[in-house]
């Protein structure tokens, strides 16, 4: 009884310390973003004079006006990024799932070969120039240049495969006995049971594509095809340049404008995350056998 009591006290102390630490960490992570939001709604002159504050010293939406009215195609880039993200999520998840579904099958012919084929891509790469040559040969200055190369992502495929092997084979065997084909087994049994991993992969792909910068930088040329991160970078560079040698007679919101661009470009992902959070948390703990 005494031991149980001590354990409870000890547990309580641990919980208190844990909670305090987690709160501190939370503040550490959230505070910078709140500062970004606050700065995006602060006038440029106030930022220059007073620095960054959570609560704007002088409230202003000029930064947002500036970025949406600049010559850079911000709204077009927004749409391009939404489109690329949506298509990538659907296609990448579908393709990886299909590959993983095949790999999970115990009697797949050439299983070792297909596994190795995938593993090699995780270990080696052709390099920047060969990648560039191949992608631009088929998808020069096209949004498909960002989608297609990443369709079969080895890591996602392995994640899905590891999840699928935890689903009992007896389910698929029973369905086969009842006359179900492979497609029916896939769509009626495995897909519904795989919602957590599908949601996880969707989130990974969405975040990855939303934040993608190097691919668009290399493969996209016309402004009409630019994605959001590319435009944000260009905008940031443009504002810094204009502010350094400003002959326009108006204040260039180089600081608040950057913050506004960050807020605008991250808001959709932040809004999406709460809906997929439970699956994400479940997904990162998967891998154990559930027989």
């Amino acid at each position: 009884m005494a031991m149980v009591k001590n354990k409870t006290v000890g547990r309580r102390v641990f919980n208190v310390i844990n909670i305090i630490l987690m709160c501190l960490f939370s503040v550490m992570f959230i505070y910078p973003y709140l500062l970004v939001i606050g700065s995006s709604f602060t006038s440029e002159t106030s930022l220059l004079v007073n620095g960054y504050n959570l609560i704007p010293a002088e409230f202003s939406v000029y930064a947002y006006e500036f970025i949406f009215s600049s010559d850079l195609p911000f709204l077009q880039a927004y749409w391009n990024t939404i489109w690329v993200t949506a298509v990538s999520v659907v296609l990448t998840t579908s393709v990886c799932f299909l590959y993983a579904y095949a790999l999970r099958h115990p009697k797949l012919k050439g299983k070792k070969f297909f596994n190795l084929y995938l593993v090699i891509t995780m270990l080696f790469s052709g390099g920047l120039v060969p990648n560039y040559l191949i992608v631009t040969t088929f998808f020069r200055d096209s949004l498909w240049s960002i989608i297609i190369p990443g369709l079969i992502a080895a890591w996602y495929t392995f994640l899905i495969r590891n999840y699928l092997v935890t689903i009992s084979n007896s389910l698929s065997e029973a369905a086969e006995i009842d006359g179900a084909g492979q497609f029916t087994i896939l769509t009626r049994i495995f897909v519904p049971l795989s919602k957590p991993i599908i949601a996880t992969i969707c989130l990974f792909v969405a975040v990855s594509q939303w934040n993608s910068y190097t691919g668009p930088l290399l493969y996209l040329e016309s402004e009409g095809n630019y994605t959001l991160q590319l435009v944000v970078n260009k905008m940031s560079d443009l504002m810094a340049n204009l502010a350094a040698n400003n002959t326009t007679g108006r204040i260039i919101p180089s600081e608040s404008g950057e913050m506004a661009a960050v807020v605008v470009s991250t808001l959709p992902i932040i809004c999406l995350y709460p809906f997929l959070q439970k699956y994400f948390i479940t997904g990162i703990t998967m891998g154990g056998v559930k027989e």
């Binding site: 002159t45 930022l47 220059l48 004079v49 620095g51 010559d71 850079l72 391009n80 489109w83 298509v87 659907v90 296609l91 579908s94 920047l128 120039v129 560039y132 040559l133 631009t136 998808f139 020069r140 200055d141 096209s142 949004l143 498909w144 989608i147 497609f183 769509t187 190097t214 930088l217 290399l218 040329e221 016309s222 402004e223 009409g224 095809n225 970078n233 260009k234 560079d237 443009l238 340049n241 204009l242 502010a243 350094a244 040698n245 400003n246 002959t247 326009t248 007679g249 108006r250 204040i251 180089s254 600081e255």
Partner: protein, 574 residues
């Protein structure tokens, strides 16, 4: 279900094809593709397309060649990536890359120009066929300083052949200045004896402040204004730009000494003195010891809100004018002045001079800048229109009309000639936006200037007509009245890459150690030993003992480079 899924996927794919396709061109026979780095203050013009059409039309009228100019401006980081892939792909349509040139890693064209393999085209023989380019580069330059910058050594340390692998711009080499808060100067006038009106360059007969006076002023302001961040807001290299002439020191580059040997700048008394004052000022809180973390916009904010007394962040007069416009929009009541180059009364020579001249120091001027600040390289690719590109640049330089079309836009539509300015017996031309669209164009410039391949002040050098009278005076004073100090650095004379591993390793160690143990602490105001003592006491003797081969390399290569150019052009390089 299967059918529906297939149809949905197919529809997605089809819908996606509408994202395909690149931008449209004007359909010229030769597509000239140029990647260039964004210059400070350069915005994309609202009517760039109009100017493009006008240029292509005029070029066709004059030469019969139909071109389609595809010039894209990138930030430095973007350009680096684009050029890296563009250079790596032999079939890529990339006709030219334009960026600034220098010794540092941000000069994107330099590694390609200096590469031993023929990544870029050797223009040495080509350039003679384009006399306008050569004339424009050589004009007003008897020492061939600009042209020298275009040559890079190809080969090893022992056998280097110089090739012209770049076409250089020609930009002004003088124009640095310093801005001081006049209110703060007045507040401590009783203590320092310095009346801002005596040093204001806008007043006739303005005086040059001596170094001692300047330092006393900074300390007095620091004592008077306890809420100051720092009296001096500047990056380290900007400090050096202003004080190199005063202290006879430029720590940042290799310099040629009187006996012809080449040493790092911090070997010289002047370079060490510069570091000593940086250390002292940083330690005493006179100069910001967080200079590498602070942004220029922060410095503008500090100056505008009275948190610093001196502003010289990138102290070129054009940038100072635009910075002060920003400062005025923050605090229109702030009183500030531009002061003339600081006079030397602190070096041995300066002290002797001051003793004989009633305390006045030697005025050598602020640092002279590299004249060829930007250059163009032409990749040696399968799909390049080299001859057409060179003809185009030659055409740009062939007349002032062509040059100004490419620099300012269509005359009468995007710009017009402003009133000429008389200054000290010389006339200076100006340009302004047309009155009908002046307000609109001032807020949103119609043309970025991107179709002018390379600036060349020998062809046209117009002042902005929208400068106020004071701004015009600042500009002309800083550019044409202030003397400019030549630090005798070896910048503009590119040396071969070091192939000897021992020497290369030594050079790497030296540089690393200098930055870590001497320069870093100097800038941060750390430690108890002055940088000059560290350098003369242990660092430099160590250098000579263990890394003398690197010094020999510097001297030998620089001397042979200079000899090469002296023979090439039959001149004597000072």
């Amino acid at each position: 279900m299967k059918k529906i899924l297939v149809i949905v996927l197919a529809a997605l794919m089809l819908f996606g094809f509408c994202a395909c396709g690149g931008g449209g061109g004007s359909g010229g026979e030769y597509v000239i593709t140029v990647y260039r780095e964004r210059s400070s203050g350069q915005a994309d013009g609202t009517q760039d397309d109009v100017v493009k059409e006008a240029i292509e039309e005029k070029f066709y009228e004059d030469t019969g060649i139909s071109i389609d100019l595809q010039v894209t401006i990138y930030s430095q980081s973007e350009l680096e990536q684009r050029v890296s892939t563009g250079m790596g792909v032999y079939t890529q349509d990339l006709d030219a890359v334009i960026s600034y040139i220098g010794e540092d890693s941000g000069a994107i064209v330099m590694p390609y120009a200096k590469a031993e393999r023929d990544i870029v085209i050797d223009l040495t023989d080509h350039i003679e066929d384009y006399p306008n380019i050569l004339n424009a580069i050589r004009m007003n330059d008897p020492q061939h300083e600009v042209e020298m910058s275009a040559y890079v050594p190809i080969g090893t340390m022992d056998e280097a052949d110089y090739q012209m692998r770049m076409i250089p711009a020609v930009t002004p080499d003088s124009g640095y200045a310093m801005i001081v808060n006049a209110d703060m100067m007045r507040a401590v006038q009783d203590e320092t004896g310095l009346d801002p009106d005596d040093y204001n360059v806008l007043n006739e007969g303005y005086k040059n402040m001596t170094f001692t006076q300047f330092e006393d002023l900074m300390y007095a302001i620091q004592d008077e204004y306890t809420n100051l961040r720092y009296p001096i807001a500047a990056k380290p290299w900007d400090l050096n730009r202003i004080f190199a002439g005063t202290l006879l020191g430029y720590y940042g580059e290799n310099v040629i000494q009187e006996d012809g040997t080449v040493v790092p700048g911090y070997f010289t008394e002047g370079g060490q003195m510069m570091l000593d004052y940086m250390w002292k000022w940083s330690k005493d809180g006179i100069w910001e010891n967080e200079s590498l973390q602070v942004d220029d916009t922060d410095r503008i904010g500090w100056f505008a809100s009275g948190l610093s007394a001196v502003y010289l962040s990138y102290p070129d007069v054009e940038y100072l004018i635009s910075s002060m416009r920003t400062v005025e929009s923050i605090d229109p009541q702030l009183d500030y002045i531009m002061i003339a180059p600081i006079a030397d009364d602190i070096t041995e020579e300066g002290q002797a001079y001051a003793a004989e001249h009633n305390g006045e120091g030697i005025v050598r001027g602020n640092l002279k800048d590299i004249k060829a600040s930007e250059a163009l390289i032409i990749p040696d690719h399968r799909d390049t229109d080299t001859e057409v590109l060179l003809k185009f640049i030659d055409w740009q330089y062939s007349s002032k009309e062509n040059y100004e079309l490419c620099l300012y836009g269509v005359k009468g539509v995007h710009w017009e000639e402003g009133d000429a300015i008389d200054w000290n017996g010389e006339q200076y031309e100006t340009w302004v936006y047309p009155l009908a669209n002046r307000e609109e164009f001032t807020l949103n410039p119609p043309y970025s200037g991107k179709y002018l391949m390379l600036e060349n002040i020998n062809i046209s050098n117009r002042l902005r007509g929208d400068y106020t009278v004071d701004e015009q005076a600042w500009y002309l004073t800083a550019r044409y009245d202030f003397p400019a100090y030549d630090s005798n650095s070896t910048e503009e004379v590119w040396l071969p890459d070091i192939t000897d591993n021992t020497i290369r390793n030594h050079a790497g160690i030296i540089d690393q150690n200098f930055v870590q143990y001497v320069r870093g602490p100097a800038w941060a105001g750390q430690g108890t030993t002055a940088p000059s003592q560290l350098l003369t006491g242990e660092y430099i003797p160590y250098f000579y003992e263990y890394c003398g081969d690197y010094l020999d390399f510097l001297t030998q290569q620089t001397q042979s480079s200079i000899t090469y150019f002296e023979n090439l052009w039959n001149i004597e390089i000072a």
